[in-house]
Amino acid sequence: MVEKNRALNAAKYVFAIAVAVGVLAPFAWMFVTSVGSARDLAAAPPRLAPSEWNLDRYRAIFTSASKTDVAYAFRVAMGNSLVVAGAVTLAALVAGGLAAYSFARLEFRGRRPLLLFMLFTYMAPPVVFVIPLYALFEKLGWLNSRSALVLLYSSFVIPFIVWVMRGFFASISRSYEDAAAMDGCTRLQALWHVFLPMARPGFIATGILAFLMSWDEFFMALVFTSNLKAKTISVAIAEFNGKFSIDYGMISAGGVLASLPPVIIALAFQKYIVMGMTSGGVKE
């Protein structure tokens, strides 16, 4: 029995190390590529540690002023991503939070069909929306606009938030709001002063997921943006990657920077992310 346990324990550690390496190595490789010299990148077999640390690419991304520079494009696109994801998160939390409250707490006609339609909008392939929207936005002059991206993203982030938050809200006891109502609070007052403080973790959790979803979005940004006025970092990286001679060093530097916000958020708020994902039973 003891022998068997020892073998099992060893297997456990071997697997644990394999998982740790498997999780970290590809990302670490991207980082190594981003600081390697041009010679390192063209070495075969590849050098696992760079011969010298070359931070020029990062410097270029942060400082380049030349508008034809990829580094410059990465910086502007990263800014666009931040603005769009931030605005979507805010809009979706306010609009989605209110709607989730009414779906979780209030009785009204059409509640279930509306809720299911929300879920469907979130699940539906985006391509079913984009052909007519592209023609419409072109007419309205809304292509290459960050506001247009915010609107588009909100249309699938809000349903997601409603779906997840509704599940979360339903788990908060009703009795506090009832007590507040007895004390003469109006519905809005009870919502604001009593319910909202208790629902805060739900807002944090879904807010984080909304931000990550918007940061990750690619398809709509690809279709609706073609210049740096609104192009997001994912589109900028994909576009640069499509060129004939790919500078993997630069792409990797951009990739590392584009990964930092979501990775830091995932590490810092893991508890909330898990809560958000499991309370609605929905993905990413």
Binding site: P26, A124, V130, S154, F218, Q270
Partner: protein
């Protein structure tokens, strides 16, 4: 009755921003795309805009390209979902144990999931690179290959390498889901099973697996829907090639809409897509309802 009415009005009032944004954006294109799928909208056609009945559907469903794309999508979906679920389950079991370093492991395991899809694609494309890629170097060193290969120029290999790239990013999600379920397990039942002399394997099959079954079902359905819609990673790594080997449904639809400007065909693909997704969503909702019912 009065209370009921005012409640409904209040509900509508506070939901209106969300409903306006969502329905405002979504309804018009949903209806228009549906209309396109029954019309002749091809740019080069002389009677553009005419009613086509079910002709578009007949054409698409009768084309080899559609079934080939559906087959590739099904392969991608099945392979990556299977890897994610099985590997995710093992990782969850590991993370549910207590040993030195498990907290660290639980923290870092979400990193791949957090990396943006496009960055993940570019990262793996670089790893798979035929001249400088690290995969060639490792496989050569292990003696698995005799010389460097350009992996992405073989259609079937390319598809499976996209599966690997996708599974790397998404396995943590499945693992975290299963871990959350495992942590709410009733410990006493397990201890009783240990006392009764049930071995680890037996405990896994007779206790853990049945307990996790509803979660597994939900993860499977949820991932299936997502995989069916996969586009970004294909756009990034293979662009549907080589020799159409990775042209999945979404990619085919994207090409007909934005490269070939065949709006009717794209619209028809989209709605066939919608039918598949709606079916999967219905299954998903039923699974959720069931697991809610069984959890109390």
């Amino acid at each position: 009755m009065h209370r009921r009415n005012s409640e409904g009005a209040f509900a509508l009032a506070i939901s209106s921003p969300a409903l306006l944004i969502v329905f405002g954006v979504v309804l018009f294109p949903l209806a228009t795309t549906l209309a396109y799928s029954f019309m002749n909208m091809e740019l080069i056609s002389a009677d553009r805009g005419s009613f086509a009945g079910l002709r578009n559907y007949a054409e698409v469903l009768g084309s080899e390209a559609f079934w080939a794309a559906l087959g590739r999508t099904a392969w991608f979906t099945a392979a990556s979902t299977l890897i994610e679920t099985v590997l995710g389950l093992f990782i969850a079991l590991l993370l549910n144990e207590s040993f030195a370093g498990v907290r660290f492991l639980r923290t870092i395991v979400l990193i791949p999931w957090a990396i943006p899809t496009i960055v993940n694609g570019s990262l793996w494309k670089w790893i798979y690179n035929g001249e400088y890629g690290v995969m060639n170097a490792i496989m050569l060193k292990l003696g698995l290959i005799a010389e460097y290969r350009s992996w992405l120029s073989d259609p079937f290999a390319a598809m499976n390498l996209v599966v690997v790239a996708d599974a790397w990013k998404m396995t943590p999600l499945a693992a975290i889901f299963f871990l959350a379920a495992l942590q709410s397990v009733n410990k006493a039942t397990y201890e009783a099973a240990v006392v009764d002399g049930a071995g680890a394997v037996r405990r896994f099959f007779s206790l853990t697996l049945p307990y996790l079954a509803p979660t597994i079902l939900i993860v499977l359905l949820m991932r299936t829907v997502e995989k069916f819609k996969a586009f970004d990673i294909f756009y990034m790594i293979t662009k549907g090639g080589p020799a159409n080997g990775t042209k999945v449904l979404m990619y085919e639809t994207y090409l007909s809409a934005f490269t070939n400007l065949q709006y009717s065909k794209a619209a028809t693909y989209s709605y066939l897509f919608v039918i598949i997704i709606a079916g999967l969503t219905a299954l998903y909702v039923r699974a959720l309802d069931k697991s809610e019912a069984s959890n109390g």
